[in-house]
């Protein structure tokens, strides 16, 4: 049993690193189609009675490796995203078991602010958050401050933070509006801001946390989750 689970862990890691979500995915060399991906492997592990907590540790281990490959330049952004996507699929399989066990995932709200329809950066951030094990509520693009406030209110207890994105200097100002409205409603949530137009100075001015890119955003989200305990 122990040997079998070790083998399974190794396979899960390998497939997270390769970014193979399920058996339909090919690996980078175009092979592996038909072999189990992260989804099938996690299902198999759960059926075999392996604890969800240990599977999460295994996934985290794999993502640390992916992060290292990214830092050394061996992995490019799309490789990271593929791995994050594979993790996200695995987490969906794990979700019911985690809920049953009373384990709740940290929530994060993300949105591109009102007036702005640019979502590539926001989507990368959302996917990387999922890959890091967060439950992501993605409100999409051109989202009004009111809608963001409403969502935060409804989900309040589990929310770790809010990530706002804007590409344009003109729409960036709406980030400040969101924060003002959150404070009016006494919602003391940390807000991460990012996007081409956003600067450290602007983030300081509106009392938000500046993230130079999606990867820094994920690091800061993790810090927030840790602080929250």
């Amino acid at each position: 049993m122990i040997k079998i689970s070790e083998e399974l862990f190794a396979k899960i890691k390998e497939n997270v690193i390769k970014g193979r979500r399920n058996e339909k995915d090919e690996d980078l060399e175009g092979g592996s189609v038909g072999e189990p991906g992260v989804k099938e492997l996690i299902e198999e592990a759960l059926e075999g009675g392996i604890e969800p907590k240990r599977l999460i540790e295994c996934i985290n281990d794999a993502m640390v490796t992916v992060g290292k490959k990214f830092e050394t330049g061996e992995y490019f952004v799309p490789d990271m995203l593929a791995s994050a996507e594979a993790v996200s699929v695995g987490m969906d399989v794990l979700e019911p078991q985690l809920s049953k066990g009373g384990i709740k995932k940290e929530k994060f709200v993300v949105a591109t602010v009102e007036g702005d329809i640019h979502d590539i950066g926001k989507n990368i951030f959302a996917m990387m958050l999922k890959g890091a094990g967060f439950d992501v509520i993605d409100l999409g693009t051109d989202v009004s401050a009111d809608e963001i406030v409403k969502t935060v209110k409804n989900e309040d207890a589990e929310i770790v933070g809010i990530g706002l994105s804007a590409l344009l200097t003109t729409t960036m100002e709406n980030m400040g509006v969101v924060i003002e409205k959150l404070r009016e409603e006494k919602l003391e949530k940390e807000v991460l801001v990012g996007g081409v137009a956003v600067s450290n100075e602007y983030a300081d001015k509106i009392c938000a946390i500046y993230c130079a890119d999606a990867f820094e955003g994920v690091d800061k989200a993790k810090e927030l989750a840790k602080k929250r305990g």
């Binding site: 970014g19 995915d25 090919e26 980078l28 175009g30 490019f76 952004v77 799309p78 490789d79 995203l81 593929a82 996507e85 590539i120 989507n123 990368i124 996917m127």
Partner: protein
């Protein structure tokens, strides 16, 4: 990873001459050889020309060659030549528009990699630059970069070849100005190549046999004849300078040079029909303000690119120059002049582009850091030569359909499948925002290149010559390192 751009891609995208222009130059060169002729002092060469059917005036030492004889001899020269590396993966196949780039010489000075000071070149420099070349993926062959001024003249040729051959597995080329030294070099080549000397020779000779305009240089012609008799590949190097040793016009220079090359080709084929000979035209310029040699001007690249067209039109592999700069320090001028001519010659489909790495100060000096920078420039140029691949997969209609309007391609398999090979990945270039870090500018990249060069010299170990072979070389020749 696309940091290494493979050698031998087909160029030919850049054509400074029209097909009609090429024809006119060719016909005019015929008239030069028929009506004016070339001057040849060496009796052996005069005899060869006469026996071969050229019109020889022994009194004036003038050889006139009919267009029929030229055409016949050009036909006899091979259109494909393989130059070997000590490792087979470094072999160069010279044919058509296949592009290869290498170092060049022969500089007198070296910028010391540690002190940054200019000093005289040594045998150690040849060994070290060979080692550097061995590690830099985009430099495809090695021409002895500087003259080793710490070696007695009698031992110079053999030791320069040895220093190069023992430190890189890429093909090695050098000049040889004394006929009695050819035998020693061939002996070394034979020992290294084993039984494969004629199929994939690890070294070849550059013979600057032509004293433009239209004069055979006697000593080097002796070397040329000797090498051709040995059946080893030879580069017919001629470098007339506009307004000084060739007409001031680009077309006139090309025409005279073409005639010079044809006269050399005729000689080689009369000696040894089918001898591997490379059309080595290096049209150059002088500054009419002061008569200094210049090679960083745009016309240099234009003329050298035209050399590819002229040699291709007669079906012979070619050799030319690019990457020379007239700047005396590795500054902005140095890199734009280099990048410009390297691109021109690469895109014209030159088979052996020498001087493409390391050169500074109109060929007087080489600089260690520049080899690393030029490796990057060559990589970009070779990516250009490789061109834009168009097929079902690269057109990506299925992907465009899958992603749809408003989506992104970051998460598509197609992206992951191509992103490592579609783009040239620079080793040095900074693509960071101008942020808190000190503004790098050109000084930054110079320092980076220099430290990369040092790192390679400290860590790279080229595959050496087989110890048994090395022992035998040392038994027979006076190796000083």
């Amino acid at each position: 990873m696309a940091r290494e751009i493979k050698k031998g891609f087909m160029g030919g995208q850049y054509k400074p001459l029209s097909a009609y222009d090429v024809g006119r130059i060719h016909e005019t060169a015929f008239r030069i050889l028929e009506e004016i002729g070339v001057q040849v002092e060496l009796k052996e060469a005069l005899d060869i020309f006469e026996r071969g059917g050229a019109k020889v005036d022994r009194g004036e030492k003038i050889v006139k060659i009919s267009s029929e004889l030229v055409e016949e001899m050009v036909e006899s020269a091979p259109s494909k030549i393989v130059l070997g590396g000590r490792e087979k993966e470094n072999d160069l196949v010279l044919e058509g528009t296949r592009v290869h780039m290498g170092t060049g010489g022969a500089a007198l000075n070296v910028i010391d990699v540690d002190s940054g000071e200019k000093r005289k070149g040594t045998l150690r420099d040849i060994a070290d630059i060979a080692k550097l070349t061995d590690a830099l993926d985009n430099i495809h062959f090695f021409v002895r970069p500087c003259i080793a001024q710490d070696i007695p003249i009698d031992d110079l040729i053999v030791n320069q070849f040895y220093a190069a051959l023992s430190n890189t597995t890429k093909h090695v080329m050098s000049g040889c100005d004394r006929v009695e030294k050819v035998e020693e070099v061939v002996e070394m080549a034979e020992l290294i190549a084993g039984g494969e000397l004629r199929d994939r020779p690890p070294l070849s000779f550059i013979t600057s046999w032509m004293d433009s305009p239209l004069c055979f240089a006697t000593d080097i012609t002796k070397v040329l004849i000797e090498v051709v008799k040995e059946g080893l590949p030879v580069i017919l190097s001629s470098a007339p300078m506009t307004g000084l040793t060739s007409p001031i016009t680009l077309a006139g220079t090309l025409t005279q040079l073409h005639a010079e090359e044809l006269s050399g080709i005729v000689l080689t084929q009369l000696i040894n029909p089918g001898a591997p000979v490379v059309y080595g035209g290096i049209p150059s310029m002088v500054d009419m303000h002061n008569l200094r040699f210049i090679a960083g001007g745009v016309e240099f690249g234009m003329m050298n690119a035209a050399i590819s067209q002229l040699s291709q039109s007669i079906g012979l592999p070619n050799y030319n120059s690019a990457g020379i700069t007239d700047a005396s320090i590795p500054d902005i001028q140095a890199v734009y002049e280099k990048a410009y001519s390297i691109c021109q010659c690469a895109l014209s489909g030159s088979n052996l582009i020498h001087h493409a790495a390391g050169m500074l100060e109109s060929l007087l000096t080489v600089d260690y850091g520049l080899y690393v920078i030029d490796n990057e420039i060559i990589g970009m140029a070779m990516r250009g030569v490789r061109g834009i691949e168009v097929n079902e997969d690269t057109l990506a209609l299925d992907e465009i359909k899958k992603v749809g309007p408003g989506g992104d391609y970051l998460r598509s398999k197609h992206t992951r499948g191509h992103m490592r090979t579609e783009f040239f990945e620079p080793m040095l270039a900074s693509r960071e925002e101008r942020g808190d870090k000190a503004i790098q500018g050109l000084g930054g990249i110079r320092e980076l290149a220099k430290s990369k060069a040092k790192e390679i010299l400290n860590t790279h170990t080229p595959t050496g010559i087989d110890p048994e072979v090395d022992k035998r070389i040392r038994e027979r020749l006076n190796i000083l390192m």
